[in-house]
């Protein structure tokens, strides 16, 4: 296919999974994978990867730093099923058992540019207190059957999760040929994190409903 009339559009994602903050646990490592729809295909880069294990920093920040690079290129014909990154963090617990420390997933930013995402992670809860105790003793905590489940909504209502720590990811997104298929990728600039503070308006006095004296 000549370049002038492409049949697919390309999405290039680079970036890194930078740091994480977790209560408890030590020597954390994670693996990430990408989940995408049927119309997406990885043409270059690692779709699944495991990181080195990292120790908590000794300073007051108490963070885990991985600085683990992401570099992947997708091709696609349909934005439906936009790729998501799924990160599962593992670590050792009190008894030196390898346990799950957190799951998280997020869509790859849909605009080109540099994006920083702070992803909070969660783990499934034990079904009962007895099981919780058991899992703590045996070191076999409940895990998702398939980590990619967290990219879908179906069936999630039956699970209970507890949030646990967060992880910071930076994405650099580049896109090619999106416009040729009629997709507008939006502003290319960096979207500000916080809006500028607004000047406080004069105080409001509105009669409250319900205080009827009629």
């Amino acid at each position: 296919m000549s370049i002038s009339s492409p049949s697919v559009f390309l999405l290039n994602v680079t970036g890194q999974i930078e740091t994480g903050r977790f209560m408890g646990g030590d020597n954390l490592y994670f693996n990430y994978s990408f989940a995408s729809g049927q119309d997406w295909e990885v043409i270059l880069g690692l779709e699944e990867c495991a990181s080195q294990s990292a120790r908590r920093s000794d300073d007051e920040r108490q963070v885990f730093v991985w600085n683990f690079p992401i570099d992947i290129t997708f091709k696609s014909t349909n934005p439906f099923g936009w790729p998501q990154i799924v990160i599962c963090i593992y670590g050792k617990d009190f008894f030196e058992n390898e346990v799950i420390m957190g799951y998280t997933a997020c869509h790859i930013p849909i605009t080109p540019g540099i994006h920083t995402r702070r992803l909070t992670t969660f783990v499934p809860e034990s079904a009962s207190t007895v099981q919780k105790l058991m899992s703590w003793l045996t070191g076999r905590r409940p895990e998702f059957v398939d980590p990619k489940l967290i990219t879908q909504g179906r069936g999630r209502e039956v699970t209970r999760v507890r949030s646990q720590g967060e992880i910071t990811v930076t994405f650099n997104v580049m896109m090619k040929d999106f416009a040729k298929f009629g997709y507008d990728c939006g502003a290319t600039g960096r979207t500000p994190y916080l809006a500028a503070p607004v000047k406080p308006p004069p105080s409001i006095t509105v009669p409250r409903e319900g205080q009827s004296d009629a």
Binding site: S7, V8, F9, Q38, D39, W40, E41, K75, S76, T77, N78, F80, P124, S126, A127, S128, V130, Q131, M134, S135, T138, R140, P142, E143, F144, V145, D146, L149, R154, G155, R156, E157, V158, T159, F181, L194, A195, P197, V198, P200, P201, P202, S203, I204, T205, V206, P207, R208, E209, G210, Q211, S212, D213, A214
Partner: protein, 1513 residues
């Protein structure tokens, strides 16, 4: 020291513990060594006698501190100073001094003041004065003069006392001023309780008395019953409410209670206003962690931003009651008259009728003009365009005239009706006045008549009439011509078709008469064409349209005229309403009327204005006059801080002290630019009270009274708008106006302006929405509008609220890409796995879609079984294709249903977690310690089920354990010498060397070779299981149609070694395998039952050449073999098949299926099943099954005696039974589960079964039962469990000799009920056309079951308490068995033979495959004779004499295969499985013979005889 303790004691009794400074104590101790005894003595004794203590304490000794200070005021000035001094003194006291304090012997005279000052200073900073008092107050008691007087040692302290009193007199007086000493007071518990009761109030948690809560005299109301809206109040615990209520009642505050006697609470305490405190100076703070970002306002959200207020002017002009309870009947009529008159005036002012009439006139004129030009020749038109244009214009004019005319007629009719109505009311008023003899209203209608010339009018009318008739006629005429044209066109079509038919019929007749013509091919073609012509439905003859009837049209127009026009000669009427007539004086009126007037004069009415539910202002109350109109005429100006959410007018009414709310009405909130208009707006209000009077007042809301059935209602005339500022600007609030409908209304989103009111109404009925809830007002309003027919379907453009569609449906269908994407989303199997659907339309593969769409099209075509019947079997294979498509469409349909009903994933599917060990498993695991390591009778462990997703990429294996076989036929080696000779018993290994070869999913595994006719292998074969698309979910697993084939082969070893000398060092063998039998187990059975274990009889070749069986084992020795029972000497194989890991079975379809049966039968059925299942958990009961249309049908409705085909009926009943069973078994079987999703069981009726020519065991069994019933047998459909099918259906018959026979309908085998080798393992239910019986016996294995359904061992479904509703059977009255052309069978046979030969040659691609003609001809003869004995159930050993000649010259090894024909491929497959072609002997010749026996309804029995022949040397 006792003093101290006593001190403490006393203080404790006072109720508070006080700190006692140690120095003070010591001081007391040292100072009053002697006196302490005086105090301690009595106190010690007192403590033992509390009664006395109490007495003493209450009458405390008087101390000087207790004396009220006389000079307190005088000294009080100095207090501060003295305290300071004392403090300074205390500070300056040196350390030595303080130590000396304890050791030194004090010169008493000098030292006394110092300790006192210390006493004072030390505690003060630490303790509150009150605390100190008790201390200081009690201590000196020892020195009180009174005490000393009765003390023991008066002289000892006398000197000190006198001096002390001098000095301490001063100090004491100071102390008295600083602190007041109150004697410790003892209160008894009861006293204290009494005190508490007087002061404290403990609210009760019990509900308060209802009568306390409402004012005496007012009646308790129940608002909900009265039909008022009662919102849901936030939940508060009842006890808390009770406490609050009791507390409020205690305060005597009844305002908090509503008329219902409950707390007046708000519905929702949450304000929809938004408040947020903003940090005022953001800059001074450090960088804030969170920044408050104001929510962005949008049109749809209520604005949260504040706005500058506006000034609103509300001008209330007057208020008129359209109905009031105090109306007299005359008033009611007068009010009606006024309303009608107002409409009359309005209409007259608008003059709609006149305008329309003029319009009509103009239109007619222009039409006439256009016509004038038109009839002339075409030369007037300069161009063709012009002509077209004029034609179009003509059309438009006509249409417009038609519309205008209709509108005119409607308006004119309304005018007439209105006029008639006014006159009627006026008449009744007059009538009333006359009968009453007094006037209550001043209303007077003046009717002005204007006489007209009758003749003129008549003439005019005639003209008009004619004109209109003409017009109408023209219109009808045109329509007629149009219809006529259409008719003609149709007629010609019909004629042509009719002609064709006739010709075809003729030809057919000719053909029938004459014999076969020469040109066969042409003849056939012709016949085919004719048949299609004849079979196509006849077009009905079109009916000519009716010509226009002039007379009828005239009548029609006349009728319209009489309705709408003034009849000629009737005077033109002008109406005028005035208040000119006078109301009668009170004293003239009768008592009733006078009382009404008095009551009316007392009533005062005023209007309250509420903004945002807050009372803003109210008009002065005033009396309405006789005309029930309140003149207000006031403007209220109000400043608002924000947009008003609601402006409410409340009409209040009051007589003397009482005041009631008559009605409230909402004024529309003015838009931003609204200022006060010139004209008054009017708004209706309507109350909901029910009032009735004893006097003349009509009351209101009384449905049965003539005048009083209306509710109080009326009109307020008002003006509303924003005031103008000084510079003429509008003083509206600056913010955006709030949306009119409250945003939190849950219904708003549902209510689409174009929503079909009928649908909305239906929904509303189901939703049971409170129509009084204000949040539902919009919806109710919409419905009311719809009900009154006001909301017509709009013709104007309206933006659909469902924007957001990227494209229309049409676009979706047109675009190939979008179609493909859509189908993929719907999980259509063909598209499910599609990846990277191209973004460009042209690149999408159309082929798949086209293929799919073709399939769908065919599927819908054959959707009706009956339709396909008319083209009964043009071509056999074509027919099969059709059936397959039909099945596919059925399957799709069921899949959809299944998808809808499929349950959500469970936690186990998503989260992997250790399960908790329960007591049972813990116990067994503990017990396992004591278990034998190698038990003598090992048991299989139960395994966990692995759920769908959890499998991941695990390897699933199908495990086949082959244990042993019985009665394997043995080679007749003797046939070498003489085929006919009796077989000698030859023992040993050489007889047969059987082994089992298993085939599953194209992989083949075999056991080792065992020896002898009863071999034992005990070998495990495991196959990798491949799920379709690697999807291990139940829905995909059940589509697996693979079978496990187990073939029993005999391994024959031919020694090829010719030189015996080499035997020591060389082996040269040729191994040949010969098929002895096979077993087919569908994967679906394994999957459903999780495991299959048992001994199965092998399906064997009918004739096994070269093998014979040992004499059958004497299983039933002693019992004489019953007649008709076949010889059970088949080879049996013991196997165990399972899946590792266990896959979850499909879940039963839980969806509620509809049924056309009465509800009570359905529920009785489920109850019946539930009670039985609870008792017999391992038996499967049911009363209803699904039929092909997905409806639940009671089982007994499937049973109905049906006549089997004529050919099968014989005089011999036993033979006929076998024939029929044979016939039924020839219909190919296909498991339901592979056909339909989920564990649902679908039963087709026999007609559908015969037309589909495929079905499960139950369809076979139902058909056979029906046939048997027709043959006069006592037959039941037996539901039970069999080997290897699992849950299955058999047929049970009762024979003459009191024998029960069990028939397997799909194999045509029959067994005695007590047969040990019967494949039936359990009996659950029996069904016949009348009833359903459940097996409630202890045992369910057939030999131990009593089959007498009248006995106690069977519980019927239909009984006296639950009678049979007598629903008709789902079966047809009669089955049609169409005859088939035998020619086709011959063709099929030929094709089969060629295909098979080709196939065998292809399989033996490395060798030559010669065909032995002689053998073939012999086999053909042989194979023909096989059908009959099998069909009649007689087992006779085949006549092998014909083979003798071949047998002598050749070693023959042959196999005969039989099956009901389903497709050529299945026959080929069966032949392949025999493995005859595998022989490797050199110079092998082959023989193949086929026999097809055709039965009615295209059921074909196929016999294939394949043999390999090796020439004997």
């Amino acid at each position: 020291m006792k003093v101290i303790s006593e001190d403490i004691e006393r203080q404790e009794e006072d109720g508070s513990i006080r700190f006692i400074p140690s120095s003070a104590r010591l001081h007391v101790g040292t100072q009053d060594n002697t006196s302490e005894l005086g105090v301690a003595g009595p106190s010690g004794s007192e403590r033992q006698k509390p009664g006395r203590l109490r007495k003493k304490l209450s009458g405390r000794p008087f101390t000087r501190f207790d004396e009220p200070p006389d000079n307190g005021e005088a000294v009080a000035v100095d207090i501060k100073m003295r305290w300071q001094k004392a403090a300074v003194q205390a500070r300056t006291a040196s350390r030595v001094e303080s130590q000396d304090f304890f050791t030194r012997i004090w010169p008493e005279e000098h030292l006394l003041p110092t300790p006192l000052s210390r006493q004072k200073t030390k505690p003060t900073p630490k303790h509150s004065p009150g605390v100190l008092h008790g201390k200081l107050g009690t201590k000196p008691t020892a020195k009180s003069p009174r005490e000393r007087s009765d003390g023991e040692d008066p002289d000892d302290d006398d000197g000190i006392e006198s001096k002390e009193s001098e000095k301490s007199g001063l100090v004491a007086s100071q102390l008295q001023l600083v602190t007041r000493t109150v004697p410790a007071k003892y209160l008894s518990y009861h006293e204290r309780c009494a005190n508490d009761e007087a002061v404290l109030f403990v609210p009760s948690v019990l509900p308060s008395d209802l009568h306390n809560k409402i004012d005496a005299g007012t009646e308790l109301r129940n608002l909900e019953e009265e039909g008022l809206y009662v919102g849901e109040k936030p939940f508060i615990k009842q006890t808390n409410i009770n406490i609050i209520e009791n507390r409020l009642l205690q305060q005597g505050n009844r305002n908090w209670f509503s008329e219902t006697g409950s707390l007046d609470r708000l519905d929702n305490p949450i304000s929809d206003q938004f408040y947020h405190h903003l940090p005022l100076d953001l800059e001074t703070e450090e960088e804030p962690l969170t920044v408050f970002v104001r929510p962005r306002g949008s049109e749809c959200l209520q604005s949260l931003s504040p706005d500058d207020g506006g000034v609103l002017d509300v001008e209330l002009s007057h208020l008129t009651f359209a109905h009031h309870p105090l109306f007299s009947p005359e008033h009611v009529l007068a009010s009606q008259l006024t309303q009608a008159y107002n409409t009359y005036v309005e209409r007259a002012a608008a003059g709609i009728t006149k305008i329309l009439r003029n319009k009509l006139l103009v239109l007619r004129q222009s039409l006439a003009k256009l016509r004038q030009i038109r009839p002339d020749s075409k030369r007037h038109y300069k161009t063709v365009h012009e002509e077209i244009d004029s034609t179009r214009r003509l059309e438009i004019y006509r249409k417009e005239i038609h519309d205008c005319y209709e509108e005119f007629v409607a308006e004119a009719e309304r005018d007439r009706i209105l006029l008639a109505n006014i006159l009627k009311i006026w008449k009744s008023i007059k009538h009333l006045r006359r009968s009453n003899k007094y006037y209550s209203t001043s209303l007077k209608l003046i009717i002005k008549k204007e006489d007209v010339n009758k003749e003129d009018e008549e003439e005019k009318r005639k003209e008009e009439l004619e004109e209109e008739v003409k017009e109408l006629l023209e219109e009808y005429e045109e329509e007629y011509t149009k219809k006529m044209k259409k008719y003609e066109r149709k007629m010609t079509e019909w004629k042509a078709a009719h002609k064709k038919r006739k010709e075809a019929k003729k030809r057919q007749q000719q053909r029938q008469k004459s014999a076969l013509s020469e040109n066969l091919e042409g003849f056939l073609l012709q016949a085919a064409q004719d048949e299609t012509i004849l079979s196509s439905p006849e077009i009905s003859k079109p009916q000519p349209p009716r010509p226009v009837d002039k007379h009828k049209v005239q009548l029609e127009v006349l009728e319209v005229f009489s309705r709408t026009r003034r009849p000629p000669g009737e005077p033109i009427i002008q109406l005028e309403l005035s208040q000119s007539s006078s109301v009668m004086e009170n004293n003239i009126c009768p008592e009733q009327e006078r009382r009404r007037r008095e009551a009316a004069s007392k009533v005062r009415v005023w209007v309250k204005v509420l903004i945002n539910n807050k009372l803003v202002t109210q008009t002065p109350s005033a009396n309405f006059g006789n005309d029930f109109t309140l003149h207000i005429g006031q403007t209220y100006r109000m400043a608002l801080s924000s947009w008003p959410r609601s402006i409410v007018l409340q009409v209040m009414e009051g007589a003397s002290l009482r005041q009631t709310l008559v009605a409230s009405t909402f004024l529309p909130v003015p838009s931003k630019t609204n200022i006060c208009k010139d004209i008054f707006d009017s708004i209706h209000f309507s109350g909901n009270q029910v009032v009735s009077y004893k006097h003349e007042g009509v009351g209101c809301g009384l449905p049965e009274s003539e005048y009083g059935h209306h509710l109080t209602c009326g009109v307020v005339h008002y003006r509303l708008g924003w005031a103008l500022g000084e510079e003429g600007e509008i003083l509206a609030p600056t913010g955006p106006p709030p949306s009119t409908v409250s945003t939190h209304s849950p219904l708003k989103s549902h209510l689409h302006p174009r929503a079909n009111p009928a649908v909305v109404k239906k929904w509303l009925e189901n939703a049971r929405i409170d129509p009084n809830d204000p949040s539902n007002a919009a919806l109710v309003n919409h419905l009311q509008k719809a009900a009154s027919g006001k909301s017509k379907p709009t013709t104007y453009f309206e933006i659909d609220s469902y924007e957001g569609d990227f494209c229309t449906e049409a676009d979706l269908d047109a675009s190939v890409r979008l179609r493909v994407l859509q189908l993929r989303a719907e999980d259509v199997p063909e598209f499910r796995r599609l990846k990277l659907v191209p973004a460009i339309e042209s690149e999408v593969l159309r082929k798949t879609l086209e293929k799919y769409e073709n399939k769908m099209a065919v599927g819908t075509e054959t959707g009706e079984v009956k339709e396909s019947k008319s083209h009964y079997l043009w071509e056999l294979d074509e027919r099969w294709e059709r059936v397959e498509k039909l099945l596919a469409s059925l399957r799709r349909h069921m899949l959809q249903r299944y998808a809808q009903a499929s349950s959500a994933p469970k936690l186990e599917d998503l989260v992997r977690e250790e399960s908790i060990p329960d007591i049972g498993s813990l116990g067994t695991s503990l017990l396992s310690v004591f278990k034998a390591r190698r038990p003598l009778k090992p048991e299989r462990k139960k395994r966990h089920q692995v759920r769908g997703v959890a499998l991941g990429d695990q390897n699933v294996q199908l495990i086949v354990h082959v244990a042993r076989a019985f009665h394997v036929p043995v080679r007749c080696e003797s046939s070498r010498s003489n085929a006919v000779q009796q077989v000698d018993v030859i023992q040993g290994n050489s007889l047969v060397r059987p082994y089992v070869e298993a085939t599953f999913q194209r992989s083949v595994l075999r056991t080792s070779v065992a020896e002898g006719p009863n071999p034992t292998w005990n070998q495990q074969l495991s196959f990798p299981f491949k799920a379709p698309n690697d999807n291990f979910s139940p829905s995909s697993l059940q589509t697996v149609t693979d079978n496990v084939y187990l073939h029993l082969f005999d391994e024959v070893i031919h020694d090829l070694l010719e030189d015996d000398r080499l035997r020591d060092s060389t082996i040269y063998h040729r191994i040949e395998k010969r098929w002895l039998g096979s077993l087919k187990i569908p994967f679906s059975t394994i999957y459903c039952n999780a495991k299959i274990e048992g001994t199965f009889s092998l399906e064997e070749p009918v004739v096994l050449l070269g093998y014979s069986r040992e004499s059958p084992p004497s299983v039933n020795l002693g019992i004489s073999k019953p007649k008709g029972e076949p010889n059970r000497s088949a080879t049996h194989l013991s196997i165990y098949i399972t899946l590792e890991p266990t896959l979850p079975p499909p879940e039963p379809l839980k969806a509620q299926f509809e049924s056309s049966e009465p509800e009570e039968v359905l529920s009785a059925g489920s109850d019946w099943v539930a009670t039985l299942s609870s008792r017999y958990s391992n038996r499967n009961f049911r009363t209803h099954v699904l039929d092909l249309s997905g409806k639940l049908v009671c089982l007994n409705r499937f049973i109905r005696p049906l006549k089997p085909p004529e050919e099968l009926i014989d005089e011999n009943l036993v033979e006929t039974a076998h024939r029929v069973a044979w016939y039924v078994s020839l219909i190919p079987a296909l498991a339901d589960m592979t056909l339909f999703p989920g564990a649902c069981d679908i039963w087709a009726n026999s007609e559908q079964f015969l037309s589909m020519l495929t079905g499960d065991e139950e369809e076979h069994a139902v058909l056979l039962t029906n046939f048997f019933l027709h043959l006069g047998k006592t037959a039941f459909l037996l539901l039970g469990s069999g080997i290897p099918e699992g849950e299955t259906c058999y047929v049970l018959t009762h024979e003459d000799n009191d024998m029960w026979l069990v028939w397997n309908a799909s194999t045509a085998q029959c067994f005695g009920a007590r047969d040990a080798f019967s494949p039936l393992s359990a009996v659950y239910m029996l069904v016949n056309q009348d009833n359903i019986w459940a097996n409630v016996q202890k045992y369910d294995d057939p030999p131990r079951v009593h089959f007498d359904v009248q006995g106690s061992g069977w519980r019927p479904f239909f009984s006296r308490s639950q009678p049979d509703p007598g629903l008709p059977s789902v079966q047809p009255q009669q089955l049609m068995f169409p005859d088939v052309d035998t020619k086709q069978i011959d063709q099929l046979k030929e094709r089969l033979e060629i295909t098979l030969r080709d196939a065998i040659m292809k399989w033996r691609s490395t060798q030559r495959t010669p065909w032995n003609r002689h053998a073939i001809s012999v086999l053909r003869k042989l194979v023909r004779g096989l059908e009959e004995p099998r069909a009649t159930g007689k087992v006779t050993s085949p006549d092998l004499t014909q083979l003798a000649t071949i047998m002598t010259s050749h070693k023959v090894c042959g196999v005969c295969v039989h099956q009901g024909y389903s497709s050529i491929a299945s026959v080929v497959e069966a032949v392949h499985s025999t493995g005859v072609h595998l022989t490797q002997a050199p110079d092998t010749e082959f023989a193949l013979a086929l026999h097809l026996k055709l039965y009615p309804a295209f059921i074909i029995s196929v016999w294939v005889y394949v043999a390999s022949l090796v020439k004997r040397v």
